[in-house]
């Protein structure tokens, strides 16, 4: 689609660099050589994800396009782009920072909402992000009780973080604003999957996105870096 260069914010990158705590730098050195995309696992399986284009838009200040894009949320965080980059650009950090910025603009909350449980229910409660809980029935049948296996391996049946440790990370969370941040994410009202009927589940497939998360209006995301293609997306449209 036709873009007006005058709408781009050409000072954006320069002013962003100093306040990004060193997480975003060296992008101005990008040669646009495409080595990153060549080895990218996400680019190999998605139709339009392309780290090179995102870096280009960042440097040129086409922020709107980056923030509203679906592609921003398709990164695998594998750091392969950083490892091959001839100019040492640490692109995964860019994605990390831009996802935050996108959430500030109201994009991508439905993704993060799914992950919020890990922080709230596991990390802050037990001090461990991944719990012993297993929801795959096949795995449950095969493995059985993980506590028993742990005991056989000579470990305590459950790994416990001391109460003091949990209290400390809770304070870090409170003091650094993480708890407040999570409350904001938690604001998305989703159907309660435990109690929903089949009828509701069917509706859920076509359920529109919540219009607000906390104080931020949520937006749709777009395929901004190319046509998605394929049958699946044609139906979605």
């Amino acid at each position: 689609m036709l873009e007006k260069v005058k709408d781009w914010s050409d000072e954006f990158y320069e002013s962003f660099k100093p306040i990004a705590m060193g997480f975003v730098n060296e992008a101005e050195k990008c040669l646009q050589c495409g080595k990153c995309t060549g080895q990218c696992p996400a680019a190999a399986v998605t139709p339009s994800y392309n780290p090179r284009k995102i870096i280009r838009d960042l440097v040129f200040g086409n922020v709107k396009r980056v923030l509203s894009s679906v592609e921003l949320w398709q990164c695998f965080f594998c750091s392969g782009c950083y490892s091959v980059c001839p100019m040492d650009i640490n692109f995964p950090f860019f994605v990390f920072m831009f996802r935050l910025a996108a959430m500030n603009e109201g994009y991508g909350w439905e993704d993060v909402k799914q992950l919020e449980g890990y922080a709230e229910k596991s990390y802050l409660k037990d001090g461990i992000t991944v719990s012993t809980f297993e929801r795959n029935p096949y795995v449950l049948d095969t493995v059985g009780d993980i506590g028993k296996i742990r005991a056989e391996a000579g470990l305590p049946p459950e790994r416990k973080v001391s109460a003091r440790g949990v209290a400390e990370i809770n304070m870090i969370s409170d003091l650094s604003g993480m708890t407040a941040f999570m409350k904001q994410i938690g604001g998305v009202e989703l159907l309660d999957c435990k109690s929903c009927t089949d009828e509701q589940a069917k509706r859920c497939k076509r359920k529109p996105m919540p219009s607000k998360v906390g104080k931020v209006k949520t937006h749709y995301r777009f395929y901004n870096y190319g046509e998605p293609g394929g049958k699946k997306h044609a139906q979605a449209g």
Partner: protein, 140 residues
């Protein structure tokens, strides 16, 4: 999507019908810059040529570009510095697409992304593992 570069595609056929080699394309982007359809592009004319050279037949024939272009307009052709008959190329591609039974794509696509995976009931039995806590959902 990672593409595999092939050798024998419709490139030869296109080159024969226009009587010119596609390799002369400079990839200068002059064609796409002035096109009236730039709002609705998936591929620009330049990318069509590049894809043809890479023999990505499926990608070209499935694109909307070949259907949008060539309607009594030859802006791209007029500015092309090496004089590639882009209109003719698109016409040849449309013909080929018709021959292969690919439906014309004139309608505008929606580029909005939908996503509804938050309900455990949609996940079939035996596939919800991902080393996750997933406490908000119960085991099926």
């Amino acid at each position: 999507m990672r593409l595999k570069i092939d050798e024998d595609g419709i490139r030869t056929m296109v080159e024969q019908s226009i009587g010119k080699s596609l390799t002369s394309c400079l990839q200068c982007s002059k064609c796409g810059g002035g096109c009236v359809h730039s709002e609705e592009f998936d591929l620009t004319p330049r990318q069509v040529v590049e894809s043809l050279l890479d023999c990505q037949d499926g990608k070209v024939l499935d694109s909307r570009m070949i259907w949008l272009c060539g309607r009594s307009c030859s802006a791209c052709q007029a500015v092309c510095p090496v004089g590639l008959p882009l209109n003719e190329i698109m016409a040849v591609l449309r013909e080929e697409a018709g021959r292969r039974g690919i439906e014309p794509k004139y309608e505008k696509p929606s580029m909005i992304y939908y996503k509804f995976e938050h309900c455990a009931k949609h996940q079939e039995e035996g596939e919800a593992s991902e080393s996750s806590t997933g406490r908000e959902t119960q085991p099926a």
